[in-house]
Structure formats: C-alpha cells, structure tokens
C-alpha cells in the first residue's frame, strides 16, 4: 500500500478555461479537513518552477502531490520532474481535473469537492462515485432517425426489446440518405442505408414515430415518461398506399427539404422515393387549404377513402421508457454567414448538401452536374437544360476552424470534398477541379489511400484557404494564396462548392434543457467522459449517439449508435439502471472513500 | 432368375459390333464361358463380325428396330464406324455402348492428342519399319482401270459412340467384366424395369475406393508424386497416400478393383461416377488438393512429378471429355 501521508495540494486555475470560476478558497478549506494533507498552495501564491516546487516538497516532506483545477494536466510534467529530482515517485502526482468531469461553474462545487477528496485519499473517482440504481422499464426511446439512431434502434430491437424511434421529419434516414456516395469506398449511400431503413420498418420491436417531436421528459432513469408531439401528418399512415396521385394533383409547392432546396416538392409529399415510412404527409405551411380553407385537390385525387384528413390536429402522446438515446445529429453551417463567399448572392456558389443532391441520381439533375440557371419565370433552378461547368472549385473548412464562426474542425469535410472531386471527374471527365484546403485530414481507414488516389486523378489540390469569391461576368473569381507556391490565386471558375462544417442541430439547446445534459463549447452535447464514456451522459439512462455529441463520419456514428445501445441492453439485462452521476451526494462519496481508504 | 430358366420366351435378336476396338470387348463376351450358352439360348446373334459371316448390306436390309439389343464396342474412328453406328442405331431397339472405347473413346481415343496428318505422317512415313520414299498416303477413293476403289475415310478425331448416334446405355470397362455383362443381359432378357435412357449400367454407383481393401486415412498430402516403379509399394496403404496416382476414387466400381488387387493403381477404365461431367477433371481437382505446398515454386515442382496429366487422367476417356481433343 502506498504511503499517502504528507500530501501537498496545488490549486491551479486558468481563468480562460473556467470563466465562472469555482471558489478555490472553499475547496482549500475543505481539503484542509483531510489529515494527510500537509499543505495547500494556490496557483498565484508562488512562481511555478521546479526549484520552488522542489523546495516545498523538501521542506514539507511531501510524498504525494495533488494538482487540482482546470486542465491540471498541463502542469503535471513539471511536478513529476520536481518529484523525480526530490527522489520521490514521479507517478505520485495526482490530477484532480475538474473540467475532465464536466465541472465548469460555481454550482458544481460539491462535485469538485468529491473529486478533490478522491484525489487526496487516492481512490479513483469512478470507484467512489457510485450512483444509485433504479429498476428499468425495458422500453427505450431513440430520438432521431439518422444513421446513428437507426443503428441504435436496430441493436436494441435485435435483443427483442421495444424501441420507440422518434423522428422529427417525415422519414428516417437523416442526412446520410441525401448523400450520393460515401467516402472512401464510394458506396452509394442510399444503397447501404435503405436496407437498414427497411429493416427498421420491418422490425416488430421498433415503433417508428416519424413526424414527431419530443416535447417533455419527466421522471428519472429507468422510468421516464416522455410526452411526444405527434405532428399532424394529415394522411393516415396505415391506409396510405403511397401511390402519389395526391401529390400529382396538389397545386402548392415548397422547396424540398430532402433536396436541400434544389428542387420543389408539393405541399403533400413524401420526402424521397425510398422514404420510410413510404407514406405521404402534408406540410401545413405550404398547403393552400390550410392557408385559406379552399382546395382539397388531394382529397379528390386520393383513391383511398378517408385517408387524407386536412383538419387533423397535432396530438400529444405519452410513452413510458427506461432509457433514452439522443441521436439528433447536426445541421450544416449556414454559408450565408460567410459573406465573402457570396453564398446566396451568386447562384452557382453551392453548399455541400446541395451539391450532394446535384450529384445524386435522384436529385434535380439526375446526377448530372449543371449550372443553376434562370427559368422563364426568372427563378433560379437546377435542370438538365443548362450548361455544364468546366471548372469547379471546392473550398474546405467553410465555417470550421475559424474563430469567427466555429473553432472546431468538422472532421468530415476534407474527405467529402475529396469525394466530390472524384465524382465530378467521373461525371465530367474534362472538367478541372480545384480543392482549396488548410490541412488535409484524411485520417480514417482507407482515407489516406483515397486522398492519394484523388491526387493521381488530376485534381488540383491546393494548400491555401480561399479568402473570397467574387462574381466576374459569368465566372466566379476565387481569390486566395497558394501557400506552397507562395502565389496569389486568382482563379476563374464556373462553380464553387462550399464544404460547410457541421453545427449542432437546431433543437439541441431545447433538448439540452429538457434532458438536463449540458452542451460543450461548440454546442454539442457533453459526454460523461471524453475518453471512457463518450456515449454516456451525467444523466442516468440517457445516452448520446452520433453527431449530436460532435462531428463524426458514418462509421464512427454507427459505432457510437451501437455503443449507446450496448449500455441500454446492459441496463435491460441487469434490470437496473444507474441514476444521475452528478446527483450523488458528497456525503455518500466521502463515506465510500473512507471505507476504501487505508487512513481515516 | 438364371438365364436358363427363361428360354421359353421368344428369343432376342442380338448384334455385337466393333468399331475402333482391340477386340477385347468381343472376347469379354466369350469370357462369360459356359454362360455364353445361356446367352445363346436366350438370344440369337444376328450380326457379330468377329464370330459370324454377314455382310453390312444384310444388316442394312433388316427392318428397322428389328434387332433387340446391339452391343457396340470400339470408338468411332472412320466413316465406316460411323456408318455402321448409324445403321445399327436404326435397326436396334436398344443400342449399348459397350466398353470404354464406345463409352468415352478408350485407348484409341488417345489418338486425339494428334491430328490425322500427324498420325499418317508417323504411320506412313516416319515409323522405323516403314519404307515409303514416295510418301504415298491412303486416299479414300482411288481410280484404277478396274473402277473406283474405296476405303473408309479416316477422321481427324476419335469419337465416342454417343457423338455420332443416340446411345441407350453404357457398359464401361476395358474390357467390361463379363459378370457385369451377364447381369445387364439378364435384366434385359427378363424384362426387368430398365433404368432411364443414357444410364451407365453394369457398374456401381460408388467408386473403386469403396471396394478397395487398402488402408485409407485422411492423410492425403503429397510432396512428390511417384510412378509405381519408383517406390516400394507396401501393398497395404492407399496408393495415393504413397504418392502414386490411382484413379480409384474417381472411377466407378464394378471391375472388382482388379488392378489394385494386383498391386497396380487403378487407371480409370470404368470411367467417372455419375455426378461428374468430365472424366478427368474431378480427379485432377482431387490430386491438386493433395499437393502439400503453398509457395508457387514448390507447387510447380510437385506438379513436375506428374509427368503426363492429360494421358493419366484421360487415359480411357479423352474423346468423351469436355475438351475432347488436343487443339491443333
């Protein structure tokens, strides 16, 4: 057993990390209560150099050091060095890292004390902080029907457990369904995703609730009562045969969400041909009847009696579940915010999701790349009649890695941009493609090989982010610096694709409040532990999956979907679920570490 | 039911003909010994060139379907063989390809490794005992003052019987075992239910290993293949496990494993089992599986020790195999 007598505590606070700082005096007073604590210093008490620390170690006969604070790891090597010089074990420098446990504000002082106490008595916090357990309702709620949600739902349902899959839009499939191909294998996204979607539909253990939103969550882990808003679809899902007659006759149009606005859909529509459920729905905002009480063209056209009910109202449904998986995904960065690229101003500056639809055989141009051009009425639309671009530029890191927008890296853009290049050359072999990047982040399995391949295909891959895009006659002028050649780039191209980053879904803040899960700096849901529990949260029975926790690519989102499901299945098999970690009373933790510790 | 008890029935009309054959098949009929008398009692040979004098014209004059059973032995090598096969087909109710040559080409079928030209050159010009400075070759038709002389046209290929006419049954073997002939004959004479047309009769469904008394294990890994004279056969262990290629596993039973009993590996005269569409391919596949090496060079070296795979695996069956002959 290690001697944990003579512990010295150093408080280290970097104000830029914790603005609403903890009360370190209170923490110091608390620490003083432990017998093995010899001395406590604050970070601004003395200069942090090795002589100084060495002196303290020697004069107070310290055997063990605890550095407590935000990011204490950034000092660890210094303290270890001092310990080593003093002839002590350099590993006896223990970190009490508040930020690693998600402690960011004053109100978390009790947890901070617990973490400090664990460090003082040399008991791992994870061992000491055991949340209470509750019995578990075997039903599970999965919020979000993208690939992560689908994966999680299927995993759980395959163990013969009931899953409610709540999806906000009219179909599951999420963003992945809109993609043309996936990198780096260039599998057709729909081809690999649609079987899963069909599987969800066919699995009797999954209750698919499309066009629904979570409105209220009550109860605690193991026994949540969730109020779900069932938005009026106005089409009876069980009787609709998906024939599409209604849609043909519907006179009202709106931009298609599925096609990222590159096409128009009717007011009564299915999001896309392979939608699951493959049933129509009515968008109340564009429906003429709902606006002025006249029309009913769809009802007249519908071959099934009473299938369409234009007067249907939203309903609330309450379900009881034991576990919740949040898989609400992301939304693309709004490129209009970067005025310098002229998105929304120049018709042929597209964002990546729009371009995915252009590339997609089921998109507005049947998978051919054409300009956005004006039709007779003067609307800017995509069709196959317009010319094809000959020079296309792809700009990386749009809205990412930029303090003016989002500081974080969106993780997928490099690769999907490379994929775009490949697909452009596949469809327009004569075209010239330019990629403007900062760092090429092709980190995954087979990604670097893909990057090499794209280079060989003759794409101009240029280091140097584009500074601005300007319309010059019919062309778009790219201005940037070619870093490696040290030249100004003034490149006239026909089309510009903005590789936009990922941002948390629009409902994240609302859900965060509802679920009681904090969001991190970028707005993503905060995981329980970055390393060991990226799918868990402080709330018992609530798990995260996919991009709502942070940008990630499909395999990583799928792995997380399954990982979140693992915890749910585990809870169901055990019949018990852990309650909230951050609600464990300090007294309970103190009690436990005292039991476990060798000294009192 | 023994043959002699059914003589009261009307006698069958029997024809036995030979194409490109050694005569062994005809001898196998005689090899029935005293049972031959029973055959004769039950059937009248109406056409049997080796045993009786009758002209082709007489056969041609017979009414169609008037022969109950024809045992056609020998392969089809020339226009005469082909013509007679066609005639007999017409005249016979049941036409049996009798013996390995009629069944799959047999030993004469090995001529398919050569072209007609090569064979003629060898036979009429190059063989050590030939003296033919004018390089005279046989010609099918030759005008002499007396008129036109004709000999049969020599085909480029040796063909199994079924390549020129429809065959009802096959009796394999080189020659077929006389006991098997008796069994088949008895069945026909007694009017037992005949198997579906095209069947191989007079042989077993299983292959030779089933009857073989040598000791077999699953240890069939070969580092080098030997020809029989290269090893000291222990007379007990499966030939394959000793590295000697034995066609037993891929050859129908029925012969009584005579060769192996005589401490010589099976050479495959009974042809492939029913499930195989090429006579040598299955054996080749099995032998390939036994090669005990992973590196390409080592594999090559082991294969080197299989001197003549085509001749080995298709000794009795080249014309009846999928490829049929060597390409020229």
């Amino acid at each position: 057993m290690k001697n944990i007598e003579q512990t010295g505590i150093f408080f280290y606070n970097s104000p830029e990390l914790i603005p609403d700082s903890l009360d370190y005096t209170e923490l110091a007073t608390y620490a003083q209560g432990y017998k093995n604590v010899s001395k406590i210093w604050n970070y601004n008490d003395f200069p942090w150099n090795e002589e100084n620390i060495l002196k303290k170690i020697e004069s107070y006969h310290l055997e063990r050091l605890v550095i407590a604070g935000a990011l204490p790891g950034s000092l660890k090597t210094l303290f270890s060095k001092a310990m080593a010089i003093a002839g002590k074990d350099p590993q006896d420098v223990i970190l009490a890292s508040f930020n690693a446990y998600g402690i960011y504000s004053k109100k978390d002082i009790e947890r901070a004390k617990a973490i400090l106490a664990c460090a003082i008595l040399d008991i791992p916090y994870e061992i000491a902080a055991l949340p209470d357990e509750a019995s578990v309702n075997p039903a599970t709620l999965v919020i979000g029907g993208g690939i992560a949600g689908i994966q999680a739902a299927l995993e759980i349902a395959n163990g013969n457990n009931l899953v409610y899959l709540v999806e906000k839009t009219g179909t599951i499939g999420g963003k992945m369904a809109t993609f043309d191909k996936t990198f780096p294998t260039l599998d057709c996204a729909a081809c690999i995703l649609t079987p899963k979607m069909v599987e969800v539909n066919q699995n009797t253990h999954i209750k698919l609730m499309s066009y629904c939103e979570v409105k209220e969550i009550n109860g605690q882990a193991g026994n949540f009562s969730v109020k779900i808003l069932k938005k009026a679809r106005k089409v009876n899902v069980s009787t609709c045969i998906g024939c599409g007659t209604c849609s043909e006759k519907c006179p009202a149009q709106a931009p298609s969400e599925f096609d990222s606005g590159t096409t128009m859909r009717k007011a009564i529509y299915i999001p896309f041909p392979q939608a699951v459920p493959n049933k129509y729905l009515i968008d109340a905002e564009s429906c003429i009847y709902i606006k002025n009480g006249k029309c009913k063209a769809c009802i007249k056209a519908c071959p099934v009696p009473d299938c369409i009910n234009l007067d249907e109202k939203d309903q609330d449904v309450t379900i009881e579940v034991g576990n919740i998986i949040v898989a609400t995904g992301y939304q693309p960065f709004d490129s209009k915010r970067m005025e310098q690229y002229g998105y929304g101003k120049y018709p042929n500056v597209l964002n990546s999701l729009e371009f995915e639809r252009i590339l997609n055989a089921s998109g507005p141009t049947g998978g051919n790349i054409h300009f956005r051009s004006q039709d007779k009425k003067g609307n800017w639309i995509f069709n196959t009649e317009s010319e094809k671009p000959e020079r296309i530029a792809i700009i990386h890191c749009v809205g990412s890695r930029d303090k003016n927008y989002n500081k974080y890296c969106s993780r997928v853009c490099c690769m999907y941009s490379l994929k775009f290049s490949h697909l452009i050359l596949d469809k327009l072999p004569e075209a010239e493609v330019f990629e403007y990047f900062i760092d090429m982040r092709s980190f995954g399995k087979g990604y670097e090989e893909f990057y090499e391949r794209i280079k060989e295909e003759g794409v101009s891959i240029i280091r140097g982010k584009t500074a601005k895009v300007e319309q010059k006659n019919d062309k778009l002028l790219i201005r940037g610096e070619d870093i490696l050649k040290a030249e100004i780039i003034e490149n006239e191209v026909d089309m510009v694709i903005l590789s936009v980053g990922l941002e948390p879904g629009e409902d994240t803040a609302k859900l965060s409040a509802m679920l009681g899960i904090p969001v991190s700096e970028g707005g993503w849901f905060e995981e329980a532990n970055y390393n060991t529990d990226a799918t868990g949260t402080f709330r018992g029975g609530i798990m995260l999956a996919g991009t709502c926790q942070g940008p990630k690519d499909i395999p990583d989102a799928v792995a997380q979907g399954s990982a979140a499901a693992a915890r749910v299945i585990r809870n169901i098999l055990r019949g018990k679920v852990n309650l909230d970690i951050d609600k464990i009373p300090l007294r309970a933790i103190e009690q436990r570490i005292k039991e476990l510790s060798t000294i009192q | 039911m023994p043959l002699d008890t059914i003589t009261s029935k009307p006698k069958l009309k029997l024809a036995i003909y030979w194409g490109a054959a050694c005569g062994g098949c005809c001898v196998s009929v005689l090899d029935t010994h005293e049972k031959l008398l029973d055959i004769v009692a039950a059937a009248d040979p109406v056409f049997w060139p080796i045993a009786m004098d009758i002209k082709y014209k007489d056969v041609e004059d017979m009414p169609d379907q008037s022969i109950d059973l024809t045992l056609f032995n020998g392969a089809v090598r020339n226009s005469e063989n082909k013509r007679m096969a066609q005639v007999l087909r017409k005249k016979s109710k049941i036409l049996v390809a009798y013996g390995a040559c009629a069944y799959m080409g047999g030993i004469p079928g090995l001529a398919n490794f050569f072209t007609k030209e090569e064979i003629f050159r060898r036979a009429y010009e190059e063989s050590e005992s030939t003296l033919n400075p004018e390089k005279i070759r046989p010609v099918p038709e030759y005008e002499v003052p007396e008129g036109k002389l004709e000999i049969p046209v020599f085909f480029n290929d040796v063909l199994p019987l079924n390549k020129v006419v429809d065959v009802d049954y096959y009796i394999p073997g080189c020659p077929p075992q006389s006991e098997r002939l008796i069994e088949v004959f008895t069945a026909i004479v007694t009017g037992a239910a005949l198997p579906p047309k095209g069947s191989v009769v007079g042989a077993l469904e299983k292959t030779n290993c089933d009857e073989c008394k040598r000791k077999k294990t699953d240890n069939k890994k070969v580092k080098k293949f030997y020809r029989l004279w290269e090893i000291q056969d222990d007379k007990e262990t499966c030939f394959l496990e000793q590295g000697v290629i034995c066609m037993g596993p891929a050859t129908r039973g029925g012969c009584g494993v005579r060769c192996v009993e005589g401490n010589s590996p099976c050479r495959g005269c009974y042809g492939p089992p029913a499930a195989c569409s090429d006579p040598g391919a299955k054996m080749m596949s099995a032998i390939g599986t036994m090669i005990d090496a992973d590196k390409p060079e080592e594999i090559d070296e082991i294969i080197e020790s299989i001197v003549d795979p085509a001749g080995l695996f298709y000794r009795f069956s080249l014309p009846g195999s999928i490829l049929g002959r060597k390409l020229s």
């Binding site: 790891g73 950034s74 000092l75 660890k76 060095k81 310990m83 080593a84 350099p90 590993q91 970190l95 890292s97 930020n99 690693a100 791992p124 061992i127 994966q151 163990g159 081809c191 995703l193 649609t194 079987p195 069909v198 041909p273 392979q274 055989a361 049947g366 998978g367 974080y408 890296c409 760092d439 982040r441 980190f443 399995k445 990604y447 670097e448 090499e452 870093i483 490696l484 970055y530 390393n531 060991t532 942070g550 499909i554 799928v558 792995a559 997380q560 990982a563 499901a565 693992a566 299945i569 169901i572 098999l573 055990r574 | 030779n208 890994k221 596993p249 089992p273 029913a274 499930a275 569409s277």
Partner: protein
C-alpha cells in the same frame, strides 16, 4: 419437382442502370426464355413498392422462382430474399444478376452493356432452374464471451458485457492488462492522467466476478461456431484450460512502427532520436533528459514516422498529431525555455476539442515546420563541434519554401501504429480476414464497423485500424451491444449454404477431410463415408471441388447450378 415458373425483374436503379443498359431490351429478351413466366422492369426494385411488386406477382402468377437484375447481391440479396419469403417462396429460390456494379457502372458502350446484362440475366435464369429450397437454421448461444486482448478496448468491452451479468474470458498475451494506454502519462485533449483513467478500469476488470482474466496466454485455435465456440488456452507453462463461449471479440491492438527502417532519421544510430513510445516511458520517469543526462535545449517532434508514405505505410495513423501536441504541453511544463519544433505534414486535429487543443498548443512557444512526408524526409545528422547542439535536422520547409536546418538535442519520432507480426495466428484461429495493411477487415466499412464476416467474431479497437481512445471505446461498446443482443435473443442463425455428403456416392477416400479449414468433415467409420457438420461448415465449397466422386454437394453452389450458369452466361455470346 414442380415446373419452374420464373419471374424476372430488371431494376433501373434510377438512372444508375437504365443509363447504360437498355432495361426494356433486357426485359424483352429474357421474357422469351423457357420457364420465364413474366419479365418486368421497375425504377427502384429495392424500394417498398418494388418489393411489393414481386410479392404481388408471386401470388398472382404463381411464381416459384424469382430473379432480380439490379445491384450487387452483396447489397440487396437479403432484401429480396426476405421479400420473396414474405410471399411464401423459399428465399433460396431467388437469384440476383449484378447488372450495376459489374455492368452499367463499369462500361461505356450501351449496346455492349445491354448484351452483357442479358447474358447475366440468362445465366441467372439457367441457374435458378436448379435452385433448391434450403432451410434456415439457428443455434443456441453460449452466454460467455471470449475477449482477446487486454488493452483498453478489450477491457471496456469486457466490462460492458460483464456488467450485464454475462461471463467474459479476457485473455492477454503479456503479463499485464492495460495495453499501450496504461503506459501513457496523459491523454489528449483534456490532458487527463492516463494512469488515473486506467486505474478504476483495471480494478473493475480484475475484481469483476464475471470476468476471468488469463495473462500471458495466447490463442492458437478456436473450434466451433457462432454461439458455441471452444478453445484450449495455453499459458506460458503450457497448461491447458478449456473454455466454451458464444462470441469472440478480438481487440489485439497494434504495435509501434520500428523507425530504424527509415535511414534519414538515424534511429538506433543517434541515441537521442527516440520514438513516441520511448518518450512516454521517459515522461513516466519524470525527467526529460538526453542520453548524456542533460536537459535538451532543443527538442524536435517529427510527425508521420512510417505513416503516409508508400515506402512504409500509406495510411495515416490517426492519433500521432494529437499525441505530438500533447507532448508539447508536457515538455513546456517541465522545460520552460527549451525550444520545441513540431515537424509535421498536415495537422490532423479532427476530433472533438482537438482543433481547440491545437490552437491552445500554438501559444506554447513552439516552432511548427512543415515537411513533405512523401518526397523528401528530413535528414538528421550529427552537429558540428562548433554548433551548440547535438544534432542537426536538414529539411525542406514547405510553408516558407526554404531549405532549413534545425538544431536539436533530442528528436521524438511520432511512430505509426502497425499490425503485430504474429497477428496471423489470431486471424487464423478466429477466422477473420486482413486488409493490405494487415488490419482486420470489418464486415462493412460504413455500416458494420465492428462485425466480421465470421458470425460471432467481432473486432474492436486498433486492430481494425489506428484510432484514439474514445473511438476504440465506442467500438468496444458497439461489439458488446451486438453480443448482448444475441445473448438476449438466445439463438443466432447459422450458415445455410453448407456442404452435404451424398452417402450413396461417397467412396470413403477421405480426400475431403483435411481440406476443410473448419474441421467440419469427419469420417464415419461404420458407414465408411464422410460426414459434414453443417453447423461448423461455413460453405466455402472447397471440399466440393476436392471430392473426386462428386458425392459432396455444396448447397446453393452445386456443380449443376454453376455449370448451368456457365452455359447461360455464354448463351448469347458472340
């Protein structure tokens, strides 16, 4: 057998097929074949309406065999099999013709592509004539799980399963659990202590009543099949322990690349050129010192050592950039005035909080130098006596375009993660495949990243490809999810298309027995014939072609089916 009544469906796949293949022509041509009762084409056969169409026709036209000409059977064979099964036809009386991946997408001449499509569909028709109904089977699942590898992935997977109340056997080759991570000092980007992180995990694994740990144990052979595996473990004393388990998780990890292969860096020649793993060890001692016991004045960290270069490994090792940035923090804390050089190619800070960490690191007074990791690697040479440093790195700096030299006293090589040499033992024991980089191949790179093509065998962590801790842990849990679900379900389906010995034909030569990689064939001494254990059999068919008698039939890939397919495929050829 009833008269075959075949329905043929040709898919447009939007324009994917229809653009290059004249779908109408294919339909017409195939409609003429004998036994083909109807031939139709449709935009998306895989869509619900497409499947409905088949189901309706089967009932309406009394079809008993179905062909869909569409994408690769690897994608949708199962979809359609399920569809025909719904309509009451045995799913194995269905056949697919791949006219997209292997036709419309790879050819440029519409006539040729159409001809080829017709050939492929005819082949399918000819093949399906001989298809036989096969029965789906399932086996019960042993609730225990074998986890190979005691690194963080293996331990996290074990804990997840064990905490659900299920038995886990965790075997580890070395004498300790924790893998590479336990040797690390800090983790990025929160600079938490790796050892503190590992302590509770190790404690839980070691003390868990449901986890049995076997140290210094390797696995050589696993017999059995999904749900019912068996192995005999051999530890260093060669003592055997027999284990039975239902699922396997391979978490064997990777090992650091040996940089002595790269001449330019002089690893092994210069004592102060060390690998990142060696530096982690040095951090563990608390002192950053050169071999002469001095504090280095200049430290260079070279990224991508053995990575992103075709001469060594083409792939990116995914974690080294961040680890290198982590080192900066550690060096800066201990050595406030030492010069630090980061020699990198692309800064890959892609994870959550990574870019922010990178930005934070830039304020640590370091010099970033960019090099070309493919064309010209930096060269490390001994410094001259007049230099106030140990070694000099000469390199072409890309961002300035200048040839420069960097004075250094210590060089840390951020080494690539590569496969263990002896990984093939495990590979063969559990029946997974390796990719060109010797990583374990997952079932599907996108949608099934932890399963393998062998049922009941999962791969997690870095053996599937380099990854950082959270990504490894996510995979570990993902595999656990799959296993827990099968345990909960109680049974798993097994291979249907197995081999089968026709006793009437088998001569007992035993050629097949040693051919089987799964020891599924045994010899029945009484009947004197071979027999296939159809649970063990995975349907490769090697025995079928080894059998000299034709007694072994490979279900769904019989000689007859394949030969007819060959005939069919050649029937229209020019």
């Amino acid at each position: 057998m009833e008269e075959p009544r075949i329905g043929v469906y040709v898919c447009w796949c939007g324009t994917n097929i229809a653009k290059m293949v004249d779908v109408e022509a294919v339909t017409t041509e195939v409609g003429k074949l004998p036994n083909v009762v109807l031939a139709k084409n449709y935009k998306y056969m895989c869509s619900d309406p497409g499947q409905e169409l088949i189901i309706k026709d089967i009932k309406g036209h009394n079809l008993n065999r179905v062909i869909v000409a569409a994408c690769s059977p690897r994608i949708h064979e199962l979809t359609f099999r399920n569809a025909v099964e719904k309509a009451g036809i045995n799913p194995y009386l269905f056949e697919m013709a791949n006219i997209r991946e292997q036709d419309s997408w790879v050819h440029t001449d519409r006539t040729e592509a159409t001809t080829k499509a017709i050939d492929l569909v005819i082949a399918a028709v000819r093949r399906v004539l001989y298809h036989e109904p096969l029965e789906k089977r399932s086996v019960s699942v042993d609730p225990a799980t074998l986890v190979i590898g005691g690194g963080i992935s293996g331990m996290m997977a074990s804990l997840e399963i064990a905490n659900a109340g299920k038995k886990v056997y965790l075997i580890e080759k070395t004498d300790h659990l924790g893998g590479h991570v336990v040797k690390f000092d800090l983790t990025f980007p929160h600079l938490s202590s790796a050892k503190q992180m590992m302590r509770p995990i190790l404690q839980r694994v070691e003390n868990h009543p449901n986890i049995e740990v076997f140290l210094q144990t390797e696995i050589h052979e696993v017999t059995g099949y999904v749900g019912n595996f068996k192995t005999t473990l051999r530890n260093k004393d060669n003592e055997g322990t027999e284990l039975k388990f239902g699922n396997i998780i391979a978490a064997v990890g990777l090992k650091p690349f040996d940089p002595s292969k790269i001449e330019e860096y002089g690893y092994g020649k210069f004592p102060d050129v060390i690998t990142s793993m060696e530096f982690e060890d040095m951090l563990g001692t608390g002192k950053i010192l050169t071999k002469y016991g001095k504090e280095p004045r200049n430290i260079a960290i070279i990224h991508c050592v053995g990575s992103r270069n075709k001469k060594y490994h083409e792939y990116c090792s995914r974690t080294c950039c961040m680890a290198a940035l982590k080192f900066v923090h550690q060096i800066r804390a201990a050595l406030p005035s030492t010069n630090i050089f980061e020699i990198y190619a692309d800064m890959r800070a892609y994870g959550k909080g990574h870019e922010e960490f990178y930005a934070m690191t830039t304020h640590k007074q370091i010099m970033f130098l960019m090099y070309d990791q493919q064309e010209r690697l930096p060269v490390i040479r001994q410094a001259n006596r007049s230099d106030d440093c140990n070694m000099i790195i000469e390199m072409d700096e890309k961002l300035s375009g200048l040839p420069i030299e960097v004075p250094v006293d210590m060089v840390i090589l951020m080494v690539n993660m590569e496969a263990h040499e002896n990984v093939k033992d495990v590979v063969h024991a559990i029946g997974v495949s390796l990719c060109g980089n010797q990583f374990f191949i997952e079932k599907h790179p996108k949608l099934d990243p932890v399963a393998t093509t062998t049922a009941g065998v999962y791969i997690v962590g870095t053996c599937q490809g380099p990854k950082d801790i959270p990504d490894s842990v996510a995979q570990a849990r993902a595999a656990a999810a799959r296993i827990l679900a099968t345990i909960e379900g109680g049974t798993v389906p097994v291979e249907v298309t197995t081999s089968f010995v026709n006793e009437k034909l088998c001569c007992g030569c035993q050629t097949c027995i040693s051919v089987c990689p799964y020891s599924a064939i045994s010899f029945n001494e009484i009947k004197k014939v071979s027999e296939v254990n159809e649970v063990l059999c995975k349907g490769c068919g090697t025995c079928g072609s080894a059998c000299p008698t034709g007694a072994i039939k490979c279900k769904h890939f019989t000689d007859l089916q394949i030969l007819s397919e060959i005939e069919g495929i050649m029937s229209m050829s020019y």
